[in-house]
Symmetry: C2
Subunit: 264 residues, 2 copies
């Protein structure tokens, strides 16, 4: 990923906060805004969540503010709540082995921890590298600056996921984190998770440095290792389809919303 | 399925049409209506489409009118259009074998033909058998009466699916219908499809009478037979997850919206 400084970074303090807060009361969940602009952003988001849209690189330009409103408004939380309610109902219905080998796989970014504070100031998935000359107010995905955010260890918990996590622990199902974050980020990731109230996980599986493999292959491989070690994956939750596709998927999978970016 | 006559049928003429038409202009796509009523119907629908909700029997009582508005308003069509646009873009990107063996699997009900005229007068997925004493205005799922609708052969085409169908034929990809409709409905199904402008399909695969097997198993088995016969399933489209899950799924799958009912 290219690193983009200059104009976007210069504008960061002065534009980001007012942009978001000024828009929030106008639209709430975003509704049909997109259809007026030519791209039906609500339909685009549905297509993303139902895995009809795949391999997309950026949020459509017309939908950047729609996605921002969605993420910062009530609908993202409400959509997540329904998913977690379903996950908890499922977990409560399980007959567990009770031998400490029942696990539930959690992704981290946009599942257990939210990077919304980063994207809210750097743009909602809209690739400004391509369109920078036209839309200076948008921010690029900037790997260096995103790593800086991760290393700060300040990402907030997603409250609905934390509710699920705690419920599972109380039921005797052990959480296993499985993330595309790399091994060198272990210490800060542990610190961030603890700060946010996560505790009692069985494993934290980070990607070894230098491993170049697609997310589906990497994560399904790690789940296979869990099974080989005698664990039973009773559930699996993530914000990307690549978190939950690829055998062994886990007995039941849950897709949290994420219209900001796509990882294949 | 039980057959329910009496009160619901008695009410049919006098209530059904005004119920729907009176509500349409008030709400459009339905938006956040459900959240006011206690159940977030927009989040419920998203959970259905993203396969987070499974094995549901009926639309939640509070969401019946939301689902009705969704289906009869513009959003259903818009959501379908985005899926079909994606399917066409995918089809156009394919390098085909050109040997007449490239096929695309189409489900029929709520994919190629719409049963909306039936559900619009019989209730949107809300099981009145259970709640009849409380909500007399809703209609039951009534297998006898639904079969009557099917045998009438008047189901309209879903316009977006028909657009995809015709595009695929023009590209040299042969459509194969694969449906849970039974063999005894072949003649009327062919007639209905032709009346609605479908032509040039390679096969119409109906379920043999008396076969009792879940949709996923039945349909994946039929796709396997297609592959064994030398066909390459380049795409697969349906309104149910059971249309598109189960190996061999097809090289790419597309899920059309359907918040009215669930087939496992």
């Amino acid at each position: 990923m290219p690193t983009v400084h200059t104009v976007a970074e210069h504008l960061e303090e002065e534009v980001a906060a007012p942009l978001i807060h000024a828009l929030r009361p106008v639209l709430g969940s975003g509704g049909e805004l997109g259809s007026r602009a030519g791209v039906p952003c609500d339909s685009w988001r549905l297509a993303v969540e139902a895995y009809n849209k795949r391999d997309w690189k950026t949020v459509p330009a017309e939908c950047e503010s729609y996605v921002g409103h969605y993420m910062l408004g009530e609908q993202y939380r409400r959509d997540s709540r329904v998913v977690v309610d379903e996950a908890i109902a499922y977990a409560q219905s399980l007959k567990l082995a009770g031998n400490g080998k029942d696990v539930w796989v959690f992704d981290i970014d946009e599942t257990s921890l939210s990077n919304l504070p980063y994207y809210a100031t750097h743009g909602f998935g809209y690739d400004v590298v391509t369109f920078m000359h036209a839309f200076l107010k948008s921010r690029p995905y900037n790997a260096t600056s995103f790593n800086g955010y991760v290393l700060d260890g300040s990402a907030p918990a997603l409250p609905e996921t934390k509710r699920l996590f705690k419920k599972l622990v109380s039921l005797g199902i052990k959480p296993v984190f499985l993330t595309g974050r790399t091994e060198d980020q272990r210490a800060i990731t542990v610190k961030n998770l603890r700060r946010q109230g996560y505790s009692g996980w069985e494993k934290l599986l980070l990607k070894p440095l230098g491993v170049k493999v697609a997310a589906v292959a990497y994560k399904s491989g790690e789940r296979q290792k869990l099974q080989d070690a005698g664990y039973v994956i009773v559930g699996n939750i993530g914000d990307q389809w690549s978190d939950i596709l690829g055998a062994p998927e886990g007995a039941r999978t849950f897709k949290l919303p994420d219209p900001m970016y796509y990882i294949g």
